[in-house]
Subunit: 170 residues, 4 copies
């Protein structure tokens, strides 16, 4: 059983004219790369991998979203700093700033998904279910295999329906 | 339309007690890495990628085969030399020696598949159809995505059969 | 003819109890890595190279200094942000913050040395003379060769003195 | 005290019209990369490093020599196979085939230098003395530093001579 991925809680968006929601992306596979701009593993591995996902799959099939989940050095990793970072590192996909929590250092989406840290890769299937929540370095081929498999699954909302004469996808 | 991958033409096998055939592997996805032991791109990229495929997927689902297709320096890349190479590079999956042609430098499987050179990655689906014939460096994520997609397809010989009461895979 | 390297103009130091000066480092070879914390080439190449210099040579022979020369995104690359960066990237050698100029975006040391951007590697010999001012990616072996050569030169202030009976270094 | 590097014992040379000798290279720094063509660490690290030495230093100052010291898989690593290897891997510097020993698997130069295996990097100074005998992966910067230092030493045969009025190198 896979649970439906809860909606992202976002303070602000970069690289998109309109805010995005997982609900509206239903039907696509969604890869969410949770990162911090001052996290070395995010810079050396996570962000390049997110870019590789973006370049390897069609935007019609796979959405890629950055999620800036700051849980330390809040003074350093401001929205202003993130803008400069996104510019310098040539990040073109939409980036969400995880909504700060009034109750502590860990922002709200990070808390809800119980992320262990950054980088974390979340992969959500066409029906909006969370299929991967991977902390640390994920292997490119494994990530590709999962996305390839999820793309082969019936699109969101589709149901295989069989009656007396035939089966069809609705 | 994808054509059925023609059978490999093999002079000898390494790393397997019994000769393999594509026919008997029907039902699995098969990745064939065509290489030459003295081809730098094969050593730096192709063989590590074949090993990555082997380690990322279950042997029940995906077969990995090396195909030593020697089309130059035949004196240097003998069966004896290949054995030493396979040992030194810790290649554990089965390796087929492409059958030399009586008519020229290009061996028989290489000719039949019209390979442009080495490294080449062939990917064959569960039904034995050739789905990828890629010369040069293939991206790990793309290879993963293709294999993931092919694994999600119905196994070889399986048919979705629906009667009045239900649909099942036979 | 090599000119004496002008003194660094520094707003603040990290990772050192006392401010440093090139004058007091006379006698050692000094490697100054000019960087910006949001410069991708600095993060992927320049800082690892500075760390490699630090680990390959004795502190008695070679001093390594980071120089944070911010000429863009001043709002993002604050002293506070740099502290977090230095912590996260495990930078242990002294880091100088290049003194901002009242007249423009380019800080004062950067202007005086006419740096073209970041990363830049400056290498100063035992006598305080500027021997390398390299913008962009410098090859590890070349950097090693230069430092090795400079180390083989007579220490700062030393003079080879010969009298009737012998030559000595004073 | 550094001992004079014993002369290489060579069955045949590739990439040079005339056989080389350490004696005739006196005055230059000499880097000898001992390798086997089927040794993975030689292919991934040692040979690229030897090429980097070749490209970073002037041939007037530094000689680079490959030494094919086969101590296993003799059937596979023949002179014929080495020729193909040198061609495919674009090795342009002279390569010596270490003279086989009548008494065992280890060839003669390898035995005399007491090499532990391949890859091994030997560095010989301008006066013909062995200054480095490093088995395994050597760091590019360290190798550069050593060569830079050796280049800064007085050329072979040169002596600092001081009389009443001055010191000079003869």
């Amino acid at each position: 059983m896979h649970t439906i991925a809860p909606e992202l809680q976002v303070a602000a968006w970069l690289n998109t004219a309109q805010p995005l929601s997982l609900r509206q992306l239903r039907g696509k596979v969604v890869a969410v790369h949770a990162f911090q701009m001052l996290c070395p593993g995010c810079v050396s591995h996570g962000i390049p991998q997110a870019k590789t996902i973006r370049s390897n799959f069609d935007e019609q099939d796979v959405a890629v979203i950055g999620l800036h989940s700051v849980f330390e050095h809040h003074d350093a990793m401001t929205a202003k700093a993130l803008e400069a970072f996104v510019h310098e590192y040539r990040i073109q996909f939409p980036v969400a700033i995880d909504r700060p929590s009034p109750r502590g250092a860990v922002p709200m989406t990070m808390a809800q998904y119980q992320l262990r840290g950054t980088p974390t890769l979340l992969v959500i299937d066409r029906q909006g279910r969370l299929r991967l929540n991977h902390f640390g370095r994920a292997d490119d081929m494994q990530v590709g295999a999962l996305i390839g498999q999820l793309l082969a699954e019936a699109p969101s909302g589709a149901e295989v329906h069989c009656d007396d004469t035939a089966c069809s996808i609705r």
